[in-house]
């Protein structure tokens, strides 16, 4: 019971505790109220019942008294009517009369029997009785022939019958005592144990005398509270007022009811205890599943998958089921999210992040005897494939690559890094494993013709391979190594692979330094523009110059554009560089004669940005150069990408009056459709065709075809890399209008260009 209460107190903050406490409190309140109300009700009822008992008892008493008196009257009547008795009386035979009275007294067990004559004279059964005959006759004359009389100073009950001879001559009176003994005897006849006594009114206690007749009153006595009633008894003697006093001890009256009250209290207590137990049970039934649910939630929050048992009431079962369902749903979603976050949606392969995690673990275990091989794979010219064949085809190709790699290397982890890049991790290579063999295997798998959607495609992939721990001991560096190797493979001409070598790292380092230097050079204006003349065969004069950038590095001397332009392209510095070239070229050209134009190379990166047209307008405005004297050279690669956008830009530039030339024509993804959709002002025939003119007849045919085509499209043609007079003549015959190359002049400084222009007429003569 004590522990039980302590538990309850501890739980009072919990739901279960509150329910139980509320239950118990309510029950206790109800029980207490019932007990108080019922108890006082019972008390009141008992009190009233006792009062009623007493009142009815008084009536019973009076009734019994009157019955007794009737019996006495009956017995007396027999004698009073007896002829012999009357005769004896009539003849004054006192002895006979007295003997008859004695006989009657004994027969009725009376205290006294007497004849009282009308004038009050007494004929008693025995001498010495104190009876007030006159007072009794006075009462009898008023018709009260039964009642209380005074005999020898004490009250007694009496009954009188007339003695008639045949006229009334007196009364035969029978008197019986009315003492405590007789009253007690009477009391035994009544239902309840009351005490009674008969006293004269004058001798009543003051407390009793104050009570109204027939009313039940409550008095405090030495023996405790009593109910009492005083009622009048009929006197049969003038001048006395007898009173019947009945006393009923309250304790006695309430005896039965107090038992009832105890029983009620016991029932109340039992009910409260049972209710408390029930409240605790219900509270537990609710709080226990809630507790386990809360615990499960805590565990789940901490990361463990926790389920709760489905038990208890239907609501709780439903709650538990819902919770378990929620856990499952969250698990499933988490799994999906995890999968999505670690996998590529297109190919279903792990993504870069997952790959790196796996690599981290593999690298942590790697030793010389337990090597890791990673390959960085890139689909060559994927952008072109996407653009020309469409994205669905590109996606199919990527899925093909993924499938092929997985099939060929089931023990390896193959991941897609995004775009057209894939990674392959082959862990646990033994010391004598042949990495070159692995590389060849990849090469064989990927560099193949493939059939996708019924179309034959020449799949070409480049990849770089790095092996830990010999190349790098951590995953970041291992990835970098593989990346460098890939870069090298791409540079080597695509469709091939390269193992990482320390030299690659050195080259990468050089490129990084170069990029840093490049930024500084742009900031400090270290670049110079050189100009190479563009010679018109038809007019036999220099019609313009191509502006070419040169970087005289303070420490490393002149650096070739072939070295730094790719770096500038990659880093985005080409945009700034291009703008500088444009302004500088326009600036110099503005100093030249009006019939000499300038050609500026525009990087694809510049075309992709938004600022080119603005830049051109500003350069022209700043230098005052006529737009027609500016020629922008773009390469075919600009058409890989958003063709519409590029065309729009070029049209915009041409509307300014600026001329546009297509550089290196014939080397890239040349498409005649470009030529049709954008009418270039000039085609620059790549120098490879010019060089080939010496020993390849077909080159001659190609040049011829180009010039014919250009003619048809009203475009000028210019041949690059012309070094000999033979070339010049061949080109002239092929219909080429302009040439450029060492035959005319090497690129020269701006000052030299100005001088070159000034001397032109003389050389023209010389030519």
């Amino acid at each position: 019971m004590k522990g039980w209460l302590r538990r309850l107190a501890v739980r009072s903050r919990t739901l279960g505790g509150r329910i139980a406490l509320l239950f118990i409190a309510l029950l206790a309140l109800v029980m207490t109220t019932i007990m108080v109300v019922a108890g006082s009700g019972i008390g009141l009822f008992a009190h009233q019942a006792a009062g009623r008992d007493l009142a009815s008892n008084a009536r019973v008493f009076e009734r019994i008294l009157s019955d007794r008196e009737s019996q006495m009257a009956q017995a007396a009547g027999v004698v009073a009517r007896d002829f012999g008795f009357r005769e004896a009386l009539a003849t004054g035979d006192r002895a006979t009369v007295a003997s008859a009275l004695v006989s009657l007294r004994e027969r009725t067990q009376a205290q006294e029997v007497a004849v009282i004559e009308l004038d009050g004279r007494l004929i008693p059964s025995a001498e010495g009785r104190q009876i007030d005959g006159a007072a009794i006759v006075a009462s009898l004359n008023e018709g009260r022939d039964t009642g209380v009389v005074r005999l020898d100073g004490t009250l007694a009950m009496a009954a009188a019958v007339p003695v008639e001879l045949p006229d009334l001559i007196g009364w035969l009176v029978v008197i019986k005592p009315l003492g405590p003994q007789e009253i007690a005897e009477l009391a035994r006849l009544s239902a309840v144990q009351v005490q009674g006594r008969v006293v004269e009114r004058a001798r009543l206690d003051p407390a009793l005398a104050g009570l109204a007749l027939g009313e039940v009153g409550e008095l405090e006595t030495a023996d405790g509270a009593v109910l009492t009633q005083v009622s009048a008894l009929q006197p049969m003697q003038a001048g006395i007022e007898p009173r019947l006093v009945l006393v009923y001890p309250l304790a006695l009256a309430m005896q039965g009811f107090s038992k009832l009250q105890w029983l009620l209290a016991l029932i109340g207590l039992g009910g409260a205890v049972a209710g408390a137990w029930l409240g605790l049970r219900i509270a537990q039934d609710i709080s226990r599943p809630l507790g386990s649910l809360a615990q499960a939630v805590r565990q789940y929050g901490a990361g463990t998958v926790a389920k709760v048992p489905v038990a208890g009431a239907s609501e709780l079962r439903s709650l538990a089921r819902s919770f378990n369902g929620m856990v499952n749903a969250v698990e499933e979603r988490e799994r999906q999210i995890t999968h999505a976050s670690l996998h590529d949606s297109l190919t279903g392969l792990p993504n870069r992040r997952f790959f790196i995690e796996k690599l981290d673990r593999a690298v942590a275990r790697q030793t010389a005897g337990n090597r890791n091989l990673i390959a960085f794979i890139d689909v060559d010219d994927f952008k072109a494939i996407n653009d020309t064949l469409g994205h669905p085809m590109g996606d199919a190709l990527l899925r093909h690559v993924a499938r092929v790699l997985q099939e060929r290397f089931p023990e390896a982890m193959v991941a897609r890094f995004g775009g057209d890049e894939f990674g392959l991790l082959l862990p646990g290579l033994e010391p004598d494993a042949d990495c070159a063999n692995v590389a060849r295997s990849i090469d064989a798998a990927l560099n193949n013709d493939v059939l996708i959607d019924g179309r034959q495609l020449a799949l070409s992939c480049s990849f770089g391979i790095a092996v830990g721990p010999q190349d790098a001991v951590d995953s970041d560096n291992l990835l970098k190594c593989a990346d460098l190797a890939l870069y090298r493979a791409k540079n080597d001409g695509k469709g091939t692979f390269h193992f990482f070598e320390p030299a690659l790292d050195e080259e990468a380092s050089r490129r990084r330094h170069l990029e840093i230097d490049l930024r500084r050079a742009i900031r400090d204006g270290e670049f110079e523009l050189y100009f190479q003349p563009l010679y018109s065969l038809t007019e036999e004069r220099v019609k313009g110059f191509e502006a070419l950038i040169r970087w005289p590095h303070p420490q490393r001397g002149m650096i070739s554009p072939v070295d730094f332009i790719p770096i500038a392209e990659e880093s985005g510095l080409i945009v700034q560089l291009g703008e500088w070239v444009l302004r500088e070229a326009c600036h110099h050209a503005a100093t030249w004669p009006d019939n000499i134009s300038v050609a500026v190379n525009i990087s694809p990166r510049q075309l992709m940005g938004d600022g080119l047209q603005q830049c051109v307008v500003q350069a022209l405005a700043a230098t005052g150069l006529a737009p027609t004297r500016l020629e922008l050279e773009i390469t075919e690669s600009v058409f890989i990408g958003s063709i519409e956008r590029t065309l729009k830009l070029l049209h915009g530039l041409r509307s300014l009056g600026v001329r546009v030339a297509l550089d290196d024509f014939g080397t890239g993804y040349s498409s005649l459709s470009y030529l049709r959709s954008f009418p270039f002002d000039k085609l620059k025939i790549d120098q490879s065709f010019v060089r080939a003119l010496d020993d390849d007849a077909s080159a001659h045919a190609i040049v011829r075809a180009i010039t014919t085509l250009a003619d048809a499209l009203s475009m000028e043609t210019l041949a690059e890399g012309v070094e000999s007079a033979e070339h010049r003549e061949t080109l002239r015959q092929a219909g080429c209008q302009m040439i450029q190359g060492y035959l005319i002049s090497k690129p020269m400084t701006a000052a030299a260009a100005s001088a070159f222009i000034a001397s032109a007429p003389k050389r023209e003569v010389a030519a």
């Binding site: 002829f83 009539a90 009308l118 008023e142 001879l165 045949p166």
Partner: protein
């Protein structure tokens, strides 16, 4: 004193008897008396006796039978005035039998049960009142007043009684009734009678009977 009064009356009566012309206008001599109790209620069946004046020789006889019948468990008439020495018949007119008794001093007797249409007789030699009862019917009460004067009558329901043969004068009167207070249930006194005028006698009755 009584004698002297009586002789004067007798003389007066004689004069009147001999002077018929004079008294022819006067009504016949008759004494009218009413008996009431203190409350003024007339007393029925009270017997009024007026003592024979001195020299009066009128025989003691009345106009009714000396018989006390029993009918419907009652004595008929309830009160009977008989001359001293007369024999009274007790005819039983009931279907039941009766047993008549008396404990009264003038005549103590007991007649054993007798049946219907039987008659018993009893002689009453002493004047006074005799209370009759039936030994088997307690409620039956009968009274016989044995008188030695011819001037006796019992009151009717209005408490009135006419006693013929008596003129103006002062008379010694006894009134008897079973409920009358006083010795022998009698009232005694003098009455001054005026012919044609009703005399009223007020008596007291027993308290018990008054209720």
């Amino acid at each position: 004193m009584t004698l002297r009064g009586n002789s004067r009356l007798a003389r007066l009566a004689a004069i009147l008897a001999f002077a018929p012309v004079l008294v022819s206008a006067a009504p016949p001599a008759e004494l009218s008396v009413q008996i009431v109790d203190k409350a003024g209620i007339p007393l029925r069946d009270a017997v009024i006796e007026i003592a024979r004046p001195a020299g009066d020789t009128r025989p003691v006889a009345f106009g009714w039978r000396n018989a006390m019948a029993q009918r419907d468990l009652a004595f008929i008439p309830g009160t009977l005035i008989v001359p001293q020495g007369s024999v009274v018949a007790f005819p039983n007119l009931d279907k039941v039998r009766h047993s008549i008794y008396s404990f009264s001093k003038p005549a103590r007797f007991k007649i054993d049960l007798y049946g219907r249409d039987q008659t018993r007789t009893q002689r009453f030699d002493i004047s006074g009142s005799v209370s009759l009862g039936c030994n088997i019917h307690d409620a039956m009460r009968g009274y016989i007043r044995v008188v030695s004067t011819p001037y006796a009558a019992k009151t009717d329901a209005g408490g009135n009684a006419q006693i013929p043969g008596l003129g103006r004068g002062s008379y010694s009167v006894v009134v008897w009734h079973p409920t009358l207070a006083g010795a022998g249930n009698e009232w005694r006194g003098q009455l001054s009678a005026v012919p044609g005028q009703r005399s009223r006698i007020v008596v007291s009755i027993q308290p018990r009977a008054a209720r």
